[in-house]
Each structure stands twice: as structure tokens, then as C-alpha cells.
């Protein structure tokens, strides 16, 4: 299995990081995700820095991609879990962004709202999966 039992040694650190993120103790990564959205908003309004935007986006994708991957594709190997998680995140952004476009528009404020909604949804689904696993 890809990044599975055979490759535990090589990917143990990634797995630990993944577990740390998806456990989301005290909602720290959900809040981090919100902070990243805020950073992207400020970047768009004030700094307009590609480096900052890119870094914030990478972490946003990583956190929420892991949340969604854990929520829906827990049985898959870690590599595919993350891939599906990020793909799902892109799909959610696309869908909610599309709704925003057809209803009104996708200016900076609505774009920020789209990110907030998707981050909240990802966190909620992740927590739901955690509680399901516990019970």
C-alpha cells in the first residue's frame, strides 16, 4: 500500500503531523485556518505579496485538505487521502465560488467569505468523523 505499512518509517513523521492536525485539539488548526484566511484578505487589500499569498494558501490547503481527507477517505493510503482531501477542497471552493458568482459576484469580501465557509465546513466534517470514530 502506498505510504502504507511498508513505508511506515519513511512517512511516520508525515503521519504524526497528519494525526496532530486532524485531531485539531482546542480547534487550534481551525483557528489557524481562519487566521490564514484573514492573512490572505489583508494581503489582497494591503500588501499584494505573491510569496505571502502562496505560503498562506499552501498551509490552508494542507490543513483543510487533511481535514477533508480524514473525513471522507480515512480508509485510503495517506498519499491518496491527502490528494482526495485537496481535490475535494478545490471542488468545494469551486462550488461555493460558483454559487457566489451566479448569485452576486466574487469580490475580495465574498472570496474571503467563501474561504471561511469552506474552512468551517472542513473543520466540522473532520470533527464529525473524529466523534464517529470515538463512538
Amino acid at each position: 500500500m502506498l505510504f502504507g505499512d511498508r513505508e511506515v518509517d519513511a512517512s511516520s513523521q508525515i503521519s504524526r503531523l497528519e494525526t496532530f492536525i486532524i485531531l485539531d485539539k482546542k480547534l487550534i488548526f481551525t483557528l489557524a485556518s481562519y487566521f490564514l484566511v484573514l492573512a490572505m484578505y489583508i494581503n489582497l487589500q494591503v500588501l499584494r505579496s505573491f510569496v505571502l499569498g502562496f505560503m498562506a494558501s499552501i498551509f490552508y490547503f494542507l490543513i483543510n485538505g487533511m481535514f477533508l481527507g480524514h473525513a471522507f477517505f480515512e480508509q485510503e493510503a495517506a498519499f491518496f487521502r491527502l490528494t482526495f482531501g485537496i481535490l475535494l477542497l478545490i471542488m468545494l471552493l469551486e462550488f461555493i465560488g460558483w454559487l457566489s458568482v451566479i448569485i452576486y459576484n466574487l469580490d475580495v469580501v465574498r472570496f474571503t467569505l467563501v474561504l471561511f465557509v469552506v474552512a468551517t465546513l472542513s473543520s466540522f466534517l473532520n470533527r464529525k468523523a473524529i466523534s464517529k470514530n470515538v463512538t
Binding site: L2, M40, I90, Y104
Partner: protein
């Protein structure tokens, strides 16, 4: 670890570093070849690129034959795939001159907040038109591009240009891997498939242009994967994912959406019939056949109903093509489709993959007849039916329908996606069989037990030779497909000076303005300010007014025509521009128009770009 193992591990590491170096060099060569003015990529591509790409591909296949972890190989394949699909975006200043520029024209309106009261920005005539616009071919890609552009704080131009090459490069190899893994459970064969999906020219082309159809193809591939999972594993989640990916495929493009949903229906039919009596009874066979016919007819029928949602489209079943074409042409179209108009090399490269896939599907299906249907068998039959469905649909669209809004060859991408796993399985099985045969025969070559080491060495050498030969063959195949995928003949792509002119006008005009120019000017303009932007108006690519006004200006470049253009675009439009470009008009006509305008003296020269190849004239309303 044994010394020999350490040595081979070291060799593998060196090979991988060399591969990464070659890929890095290829990207560098692409950047170095970036041109401001070109017709095709072949005019400007560095002569070393193709040989280096060929060597890198061979090396990647060679790595595939080693014991390297599949996860790393998959990462290499993703990098390779991104490289393969980035040629247009890196080499040309505005990507391929095609639909992707029109899409950017609309996406720009969303990004620049020109659309502020929902889509479409113009009042739709009917509720059906409204629905078509919502689920049209623009909005979902516009949304995802805008979200990415804002996240990265980049201009939409760059995000749009690289959106599909990047997403395709990452997601399609993974989808091919997963699909093949369901069929064979062999990771090496699956990795083969993820690389071999790049051996199909049409998939290379569609992965290189940022159009909604390409996004739809990506989602289609995942819908196909989940359809197979739905058939093999009893879980409501797989049903949900199959439907979700089909919905997103539809959201991206109606063609891919309809095909995805057709396969969903086919999967339902397969599952139902398999559940009832494992597909063996006559009733089950009839049920499957009827379901197959229904699924096959969905796509052609959907086109005929398009006029309900898109006024002006008139797609009908017709025998016109039979009356208009010769018998030879009809037979050719029936057999190989549009390829009859292509050269032999293209025909071979486009047909080889699907043909190989089809032959392997037939072989596997024949083998299945002998035994009980397994989950692998069900998937093989399902894919066989889907492949056959694409073959029939293509011929229906090509020969029995007229007025289609798309070219029928887009269906080849679906066909190629379905064939790719079987091509990989076929090649992998053949190579494995040869190796197994050699190993089995080795003791008989040298029957003296004392010389067995020598015998093993012989087998090892032969295996190595086979690996090298197969790598060479497949590397050559992908490289040749690349040479066919990117067009050899094309009109002049959007040039740097056309983009500069559009930017210059936008940056230096405070009032509302309208630009008159040829269709190439419209393409360049819409990439910078969007299409039919009320503040910076470029007529639509298909707007007859644009052609009419430009034709008048070419004949008689007087301010009256520009005033007419301003009046057509709103009372508050104060400035009009005329753009004429030498390579588009031809030197003689260009010189005539420019000299007439200069002699006339009523229009002002606003700017000259591209060393005198492009003139921008302006006229301000009193």
C-alpha cells in the same frame, strides 16, 4: 544490506537525480524558448528540448522497472506530466490561441468585479437561458480561477494559463493509477498506466489548454474511478462520490457531465444485473443491452435538446453527410473518423493506444468467459462497454448529426482515458511474461548446475536488455505523441505587442472606451480587460458588429465609424481606438491603412508597438 544492493540503490539514486536534472533542464529550456511572436511551439522550441525530454522519459520508464517505491515514482510522473502539458503556457505569451482566451475574457469580468449582480451580466431572455448560463461552460472555471488568483495574490492571467496544466498534471496520472489498480491490484502496472496516459496525443492537448472541457475531463476520470469502486465495493459512499464527481464534471462542461452521468447509469445497470443473478441469465443480458443502448443514446439526444436552453443552437439528426461525402470518405470516417484528414504518423499515434487497449480488453473479456465473474471482471466488462459506447457515440455525432457546437474529436479523450489502463496492463503483462519465460528457460540453457550463477547473470542481462528496449520504445512513443499533440500548423499566436497595446490603452485611458480591431485584437484585449466590459469595450469574438466596423475602418478609416462604435456601446463612451497589426492584415494593406489614417489627420497615433508592427489610433468624441 548487501554490497550489491547498496550499489544498486546508489545507482538508482544517481538515476533519479539525473532524471530530476533533466526535467529541470527541460523547464529551463522551455523558459529560454519563450517567444513573443510565434505560430507554433515548434518554431521556437529549443532544439535540445525534445532529445532531453526523450532521455528523461526513457529514464523514468527505466526507474519504473526498478524496485523503487511506487509513491516516489508517482511523484516523478506528476512532475513529468506537468512538464508535458506546460508547453503552450510557457512558450507563448498568452497560451494557445483558442477557446482558452475566450474563457479568460469572461473570467476576467468576474476577477475584476465587472459582474456585480450575478451571472450572466446581461439579462437572459428566458429561464432556460438563465439555467444554461448558470451551468454554462464558463462560470465554475471562472470561480475556481478567481479563487486561486485571489489566494495567491496573482493576476488572473497567470492563474488561468497554468490552472489546467497543473491540475491535469497532478490529478490525471493519479486517476489513471487508481483506475488501473482496481483492475490489476498491481502497483507497478498502475504506475505504468499513470505515465502511459501521456502517450495519447489528444489527452496531451487537452491537458495543455485551460478550458472548462479539460476540467470536466479530470472530473470525468474520477467519476469513472468511483463508478468502478461502486461496482466492486458495496458502500453508499462510492455511489455518492460517483454522483458528486459526475456533477462536478457537468458543472465544468456539459459534454463531460453528460458522458459521466451516462456511465453512472451504465454502472447502476451493471450492478443491478450482477446482483440479481450474477449477469448470467438471458434476462440480465437483455437488461444490460437495453441499458447500454439507453446510455449510448443519452449524449446524442442531449445535443438535440440543447436548443431548449441555448437559443440559436440547432443540432439535428441528419443524413446530410452521407449525401455530401463520397463512399470512400464515409467508410474512412466510420473506421477512423477525422483521422482520414491527417497524415500517417498522426493516424498511427492516435490509433495505437486505443487499439492496443481495445485488443487487451477483448482478450481479458474472452478470458473472463471461462471463469466466474470477479470484481476485476465486472470492471473490465464495464470499461469495455464504456469504451464501446464512446466509439458508437463518436460515429453517431460524426456521421448522423449536424450543427454540433463542439468538434466530435473531444470524445477521443474519454476513449483514451478508458483505454490507458488496458494499454499499461497489456505492456506490463507482455514484459512480465517474457521475463518469466526467460527465467523458466534459464536452467535449460546451461544445464550444468555448477554454472547456475552464470546462467542467472545471463537472465539478468536479458531482462536488463528487455527493460532498456521497452523503455526506449515507450519513451519514443510518448515523445512522438508530444510532437503530434502540439499542432504543426497554426495562425500567429497572440503576440507580446498585442497584449502590450491592450495594456497600454487600459492604463492610459480614464474615460469609457471602445476598441475596434480584428479578432486577434479582440482575443488580446479580452485577456487584459475582459469581453464586453462596459468600461473598456471589446466586441465579442462572434459579434458581427466587430467585423463590420473593422471592415469599414479598413476601407475608409474615418472618425465616423469610430463614433458609430462609441454610439453602439453607450452614450458615455468618450474614446475609441483603432488597432491595426501588420502580420494580421498583411504588409500591403497595413501600410495602406496606416498611411490613409496619417494622411487624414483626424485620428491621433496613440502608440506604436512591436517595432512598428502595431499601430494604435485614437479618436475622442467632442
Amino acid at each position: 544490506m548487501l554490497h550489491s544492493q547498496r550499489k544498486s540503490k546508489k545507482l538508482l539514486c544517481m538515476g533519479e537525480f539525473f532524471y530530476l536534472f533533466l526535467v529541470g533542464l527541460s523547464f529551463y529550456l522551455l523558459l529560454a524558448s519563450r517567444a513573443g511572436e510565434a505560430h507554433t511551439i515548434w518554431e521556437v522550441l529549443h532544439p535540445l528540448f525534445i532529445p532531453i525530454f526523450f532521455i528523461a522519459t526513457i529514464l523514468l520508464f527505466a526507474i519504473l522497472f526498478t524496485s523503487e517505491k511506487v509513491s516516489y515514482i508517482l511523484l516523478f510522473i506528476i512532475v513529468h506530466s506537468i512538464l508535458l502539458h506546460s508547453l503552450f503556457s510557457i512558450l507563448f505569451p498568452a497560451g494557445d490561441l483558442s477557446g482558452q482566451q475566450m474563457i479568460l475574457g469572461r473570467t476576467r469580468l468576474v476577477f475584476d468585479n465587472t459582474v456585480i449582480h450575478g451571472w450572466p451580466p446581461w439579462p437572459p431572455k428566458t429561464i432556460q437561458t438563465q439555467i444554461y448560463q448558470w451551468f454554462g461552460e464558463i462560470n465554475s472555471q471562472a470561480a475556481v480561477s478567481t479563487v486561486f488568483a485571489r489566494m495567491f495574490s496573482l493576476d488572473i492571467f497567470w492563474v488561468h494559463m497554468f490552472l489546467v496544466p497543473a491540475l491535469w498534471g497532478v490529478l490525471v496520472p493519479i486517476a489513471a493509477f487508481l483506475t488501473t489498480k482496481i483492475l490489476s491490484e498491481n502497483e507497478k502496472a498502475a504506475a505504468f498506466s499513470s505515465l502511459l496516459v501521456s502517450a495519447f496525443p489528444y489527452t496531451i492537448y487537452f491537458g495543455a489548454i485551460s478550458v472548462p472541457n479539460s476540467l470536466g475531463f479530470i472530473f470525468f476520470f474520477y467519476a469513472l474511478y468511483f463508478s468502478m469502486k461502486y461496482l466492486t465495493i458495496d458502500s453508499p459512499r462510492n455511489t455518492a462520490w460517483m454522483l458528486v464527481f459526475s456533477f462536478f464534471s457537468f458543472l465544468s462542461h456539459n459534454l463531460t457531465g453528460v458522458v459521466s452521468f451516462s456511465l453512472v447509469v451504465l454502472a447502476f445497470a451493471f450492478k443491478t444485473s450482477m446482483k440479481e443473478d450474477r449477469g448470467s441469465s438471458t434476462t440480465a443480458k437483455i437488461w444490460m443491452f437495453v441499458a447500454f443502448l439507453v446510455c449510448t443514446s443519452l449524449l446524442p439526444l442531449s445535443f438535440t435538446y440543447l436548443q431548449l436552453f441555448l437559443p440559436g443552437s440547432h443540432v439535428i439528426f441528419s443524413l446530410d453527410k452521407f449525401y455530401e461525402s463520397s463512399t470512400g470518405e464515409i467508410v474512412g470516417l466510420l473506421l477512423i473518423g477525422e483521422l482520414i484528414h491527417f497524415d500517417l504518423k498522426t493516424r498511427i499515434l492516435v490509433i495505437t493506444g486505443p487499439l492496443l487497449g481495445l485488443l487487451w480488453m477483448i482478450y481479458l473479456s474472452y478470458k473472463l468467459k471461462k471463469g466466474q465473474p470477479t470484481k476485476f471482471g465486472i470492471c473490465t466488462l464495464f470499461l469495455f462497454a464504456a469504451f464501446f459506447m464512446m466509439l458508437i457515440d463518436y460515429r453517431i455525432l460524426k456521421l448522423f448529426m449536424v450543427g454540433l457546437p463542439i468538434n466530435e474529436e473531444r470524445l477521443w479523450v474519454f476513449r483514451d482515458f478508458i483505454a490507458a489502463p488496458f494499454v499499461a496492463l497489456a505492456i506490463y503483462a507482455v514484459v512480465s511474461s517474457i521475463k518469466a519465460f526467460l527465467e523458466a528457460k534459464s536452467p535449460s540453457i546451461i544445464p550444468i548446475s555448477g554454472l547456475k550463477v552464470f546462467s542467472n547473470a545471463n537472465v539478468f542481462s536479458l531482462s536488463l536488455i528487455i527493460n532498456i528496449l521497452v523503455s526506449l520504445l515507450l519513451g519514443g512513443w510518448i515523445t512522438a505523441s508530444l510532437s503530434v499533440a502540439y499542432p504543426q500548423v497554426a495562425p500567429l499566436q497572440t503576440t507580446w505587442y498585442e497584449l502590450e497595446a491592450a495594456k497600454y490603452i487600459e492604463e492610459n485611458t480614464k474615460e469609457k472606451y471602445v476598441v475596434i480591431g480584428d479578432v486577434w485584437t479582440i482575443f488580446a484585449g479580452e485577456m487584459i480587460v475582459g469581453i464586453q466590459n462596459p468600461g473598456a469595450y471589446y466586441f465579442g469574438e462572434n459579434d458581427p458588429r466587430a467585423y463590420d466596423l473593422f471592415a469599414k475602418m479598413r476601407k475608409d478609416p474615418s472618425p465616423q465609424v469610430l463614433v458609430e462604435a462609441m454610439n453602439q456601446t453607450g452614450a458615455d463612451t468618450k474614446v475609441a481606438y483603432l488597432i491595426v497589426t501588420e502580420p494580421r492584415l498583411g504588409t500591403e494593406e497595413f501600410n495602406q491603412v496606416v498611411s490613409r489614417v496619417l494622411e487624414n489627420g483626424q485620428l491621433t497615433v496613440m502608440g506604436i508597438f512591436g517595432d512598428g508592427k502595431l499601430y494604435v489610433f485614437s479618436y475622442r468624441k467632442e
